[in-house]
Amino acid sequence: MKPIVKSSEELLPHLFRQEYAKMTAVLCRHFGLAHIELAEDIASETFLKASENWPINGIPQNPTAWLYTVAKNKLKDYFKHTAIFESQVKKQIIASPISDQQDFEFDPKIIADSQLAMIFAVCNPGNPMENQICLALQILCGFSVGEIANAFLTKTETIKKRLLRARNQLRKDHFRIKELNEKEIRQRLETVLRTLYLLFNEGYFSKTNNQLIRKDLCSEATRLALVLTDNPLTKTAQTYALLSLMCFQSSRLEARTNPEGEAILFEDQDKSLWDNALIEKGNYYLIHACSGAEVTKYHLEAGIAYWHTTPTDQKKWEHILQLYDQLILIENSPVTALNRLFALAKVYGNEKAITEAEKVNDNHSNSYHALLGYLHAERNIDTAIEHYQQAINLTKSGTEKKTLIKEIKRLTKKKTHNKII
């Protein structure tokens, strides 16, 4: 194998996404969330120092350890030299005890605990879901404002506003990480799982073409879900079901886009690219998710993902349709309805699905038209093209547009071919 030589320009952004959030989380344990900026400043300065130092002196043998040592020293400096901060800390000590600076360490246990506390702090039900996800991306995953804007296909200004609002909300609540008790954890777990689910989907169904960001999003969400399974309070059946879903979906990450970032339809995917280790992990977590009577949307979605990774079973689509039937009872969303129709078409044929689809009549949705286009493609090419055209007009995603245009070209060719015959 060739040794992988990475330049610091390549390594740093990745390390930043990976370590910045952990560092901030641990630092926040000492400052409290009201002073999250201080924690972020120290983390940022640490990376700044790395970006200045590494190109000159070369990448240290253990880059992560280097970063943590610098962060630790910076924190010590803070405590020593910043008189203003010192007085703030003293005030804080009266209000709530801040842990002794002496025990400040970046060991794996403390990182995991701090991150867990951080996840729960960020997933504050007082914030709208969108803002929560933005904040989670920034604080938990170390994404820059630009990267978040890219992932959401929104202007950086909008993201900045969302983040500001979300942070103000957190501050208003005087939220302190240490105060989380068992009851609060149980109450918030659902919101936390929901945020991680959306975080993962943001990567998996991302509007951005940037492959690296997509994969980082998915792996970050999975990593955070894994942190939840380390704690007895948070490793519920629901958590395992979500983790299972993430593993099954991630197993197909490599196969579902081509190098240009265009989506490859499920049937055309190169199955040898599927990651078997992840599929097995998905199986393992799915089994762990089945203890007790609880069946959540994550259970059902994990089940659906399981059948997608098991191409040999003859009754695959029957199983998938059944799961969608149950899912739609738990959460009736347009996306679920359309996916159910796709499964229905596979089991009972396109005609039946078209009749059902017309009942849904979701004319403003690009996915609705894309599905109708697909369903009509076999028998009625003109109608199919019409729907695809509407889908193109409605979608905001560049990759989807490309895929749809390709499909129209294919159908037009087929049409002329039919005429010649």
Partner: protein, 113 residues
């Protein structure tokens, strides 16, 4: 929906420790049930080792191990959720335990509550 316990039995304690391949086969089987939303409880394995198994009988008679006369022991259980016992039996049929001479007892669960 009814619930059925599938009780696994083996004849030979040496079969108890599965090979990685057998383990994987079992996991696949279980995941298949879970992904039909028919696994009510992933159940547990019951250890057949001398140190981990005793049988208590009347008059304070206690013997080692899970068995005395018949050389058959329960190795574990799961609970599944199906409409009929026939469907539960169909699911049981595809378990890899039969390859090593084990058997499965299917029993409807009567809930206490």
């Amino acid at each position: 929906m009814k619930e059925f316990a599938l009780i696994f039995r083996l004849n030979n304690t040496t079969d108890f420790k599965p090979s990685p391949e057998q383990m994987q086969e079992r996991m696949n089987w279980l995941a298949g049930i879970a992904s039909q939303n028919k696994l009510a409880d992933k159940g547990n394995t019951l250890l057949p080792t001398l140190a981990g198994a005793k049988t208590v009988r009347p008059n304070n008679v206690i013997s080692d191990g899970p068995y005395t006369e018949i050389k058959e022991f329960i190795s574990g259980y799961i609970v599944i959720r199906t409409d009929t016992i026939e469907e539960a039996v169909e699911i049981a049929k595809s378990n890899p335990i039969f390859k090593i001479g084990g058997n499965i007892e299917v029993r409807e669960v009567l809930k206490r509550d």
